[in-house]
Symmetry: C2
């Protein structure tokens, strides 16, 4: 196997993710309006591999005990490591719907498979919306011809808009890297989600396609690893949804030598590219979170290990008091320290320091007083993107979590979601 | 030892807690205005046992790793099982304040002890307010004579008002039970707290006095057991404060035979009375929680054990999505079930049922559809006090948690707390 040249490696590290329109050779996407719950907007999205036999596919799903019917269906179908298409609907989650819900998820897949002329088992499904309501299959059946007719190489934006619920913007991310000399591959994906966002895991819908040629095992490995570094690092409200689904399809149209060794340089390069797209989509999710006005990056360093750093970071990231202080641009750092103190991780207060960007406000357990620090902290809290670092002074474990502030609009959106 | 007659037992169960003014023989309380942080309102409270030698005392404190200086002081002093007085200030928490904070907590206790003429070690202190700011001791010193002069048997209301921060009403609860034939004892207490309320433990200040004669060991036992059944069952925002303190003083003026056997009927009767007062104060805290418009009682039944029921109940009670739905009076029960599903407790969806009051909306994993159910659920969600029960269908473990809804006012209060 030819080793990947240094400049390509470098490329894959520095390559910029494109949030605008993209095309993934070998795939088409589209959307249609079924009217199942919403009116006057598309609510069905379809993504399809052009290869008649489908392609390698992998997925990561919610750990919620009440996982939705489409999640159960996909978990089962992805055991084969292959898929031809993904059909997603917005408006009704098909979760907590019992046997009827399972039958309806299978019916949805069958509708798409009949329209596409492929086996039913090769279609994956995903749903997002209200929990506890049954899917209305008839409207989906009626608009299936229109949905299939809408499929085109640049249909990703339409698909991204069709899966939105309380999202205010569609989320897209694509990039190209040179995987072997002269052979470029594309990784492109769409996502939706703006509430019920917490790790364990994605708490949203994410569909990514690539024209790289990868075995199902390698794809599964990087899908899981990528989720760990992206969607498992964000939280909006700590609520893990019943429907979280991340699915990745690898079509192979790029013509690279099929990546089958997880530890090969090409595999690593592919993994980095996939992770980059996933992380960009994850950040987009937090930035468009329900009512969010600020993006907050919470870095916990100096922990005994990554797991305890993670626990502290998420306790801060999910604290209603911390999040409201960010909304009010009030540099009330005591709440951040107090949240760390209740994370269930042993701490030594006299070793803990807190920084906003590069400004230290709390050093080895003692507040740094002074009007200048207060003014500078207030200035930092007024920004749209805020970085804070809590150093625990105990070891070398670290973790970075992303969250947003908690605003009036979060309450407004969620107090009347169903009406 | 004379067994307690049946009717007394019954009395202690059915006795009603009085939220109005009360008197605890052997104790005085008072308040004064130091102007340390607030102006135009009392901010210091003092509670004092009349017995020159003090009396049995016990406490339960926050488990936050960044516990406040006064908490450290009290933990240490209560090892002796005795105390003479409690001095509390509102406005500054004296948490995350390092060695200077510890010295200032000791200074505050010394000020009170000098004014009262008792040993410094017999004075307990408590603080609530902003984290990370140092106490201003001089204003407290100046008003100490006025504070001591304010002490009187019916000063509890003044003391309760002096420890308020974002509280909108003072919290008081008192009751009398016949402990032995012809001997009545009083249990009376005050509390503050309306944000940073979560179990582990109280996340607030609670001071309770009784004229019952009890050994320090028995008092310690029932203080802990009572906290478990009251303040450890409530949450407002899941944020455990740095300053939570529950302290109970037992003066003995009632003249009952000193309770020294934890398992005696008198001990049990005393424990029930104390728990009743603590639970009433806990419910008052939730009802006055920051921005709260509804009290929500979440009962989880049919769990494998109490601990897993507790975990599910608190995951629901702390879910921002559940709490906003309650605020909007939107009977969006899917969020309740989804929160249960992410509690980290193994569940079998097809055994789970959900009730609002007596109305079943989700039975053995399947939603009960129909406009009538929806209408009735919406009516229940419109009430000020809502009871919901989630039956897991797995065993006999149960737990009840109390929480409130999440409203615009919670954001408003907390986005600008320091200003």
């Amino acid at each position: 196997m030819t080793p990947v040249p240094a400049e390509v490696e470098k490329n894959s590290r520095n390559v910029t993710v494109n949030r605008g329109p993209f095309v993934v050779p070998g795939f088409v996407a589209g959307a249609a309006e079924s009217g199942m719950r919403y009116s006057g907007r598309p609510d069905l999205a379809l993504i399809c591999a052009l290869d008649a036999n489908g392609c390698p596919a992998a997925g990561v799903f919610t750990r919620n005990m009440f996982c939705a019917a489409p999640v159960e269906l996909c978990r089962d179908r992805l055991k084969a490591g292959k898929a031809k298409a993904i059909l997603a609907n917005a408006g009704i989650a098909n979760a907590c719907t019992g046997e009827e819900g399972k039958a309806k998820a299978a019916q949805m897949a069958r509708l798409a498979s009949e329209a596409l002329g492929c086996p039913a088992e090769s279609v994956l499904v995903a749903s997002t919306g209200v929990i506890g309501r049954q899917l209305d299959v008839q409207p989906a059946a009626r608009c299936m011809p229109a949905l299939v007719a809408s499929l085109r190489p640049d249909g990703w934006g339409d698909a991204a808009r069709a899966i939105m619920t309380t999202d205010t913007v569609e989320k897209m991310a694509g990039l190209r890297i040179e995987l072997e000399p002269g052979i470029e591959v594309t990784v492109g994906g769409i996502a939706k989600g703006s509430g019920m966002i917490a790790p364990n895991m994605a708490t949203l819908l994410v569909f990514v396609c690539t024209d790289a040629s990868v075995t199902p095992e390698v794809l599964r490995h990087w899908t899981r690893a990528g989720a760990e570094e992206s969607f498992n690092c964000i939280t909006v409200d700590g609520d893990t949804s019943t429907n979280d689904s991340l699915m990745v399809l690898a079509g192979g149209a790029a013509g690279n030598k099929t990546i089958s060794d997880i530890r090969s340089p090409e595999s690593e390069a592919f993994g980095r590219a996939l992770t980059k797209v996933l992380r960009d989509l994850a950040i987009q999710i937090v930035m468009d979170a329900e009512g969010a006005t600020r993006l907050i990056e919470i870095e916990v360093s100096g922990a005994r290990d990554r797991e305890s750093a993670r626990q502290v970071a998420f306790t801060i990231a999910n604290s209603a008091l911390v999040k409201t202080a960010f909304f009010g641009a009030d540099a009330n750092w005591g709440r951040i320290v107090a949240a760390a103190g209740r994370a269930g991780v042993p701490l030594e207060p006299e070793r803990v320091s807190l920084f906003f960007a590069d400004l230290c406000v709390f050093q080895n357990g003692v507040p740094l007083p002074g009007e200048q620090i207060e003014e500078e902290a207030t200035r930092i809290f007024g920004q749209k993107e805020i970085h804070l670092r809590l150093d625990l002074g105990l070891g070398s474990g670290s973790f970075t979590a992303w969250t947003c502030d908690l605003s009036f609009d979060y309450i407004k959106i969620n107090a009347s979601y169903r009406t």
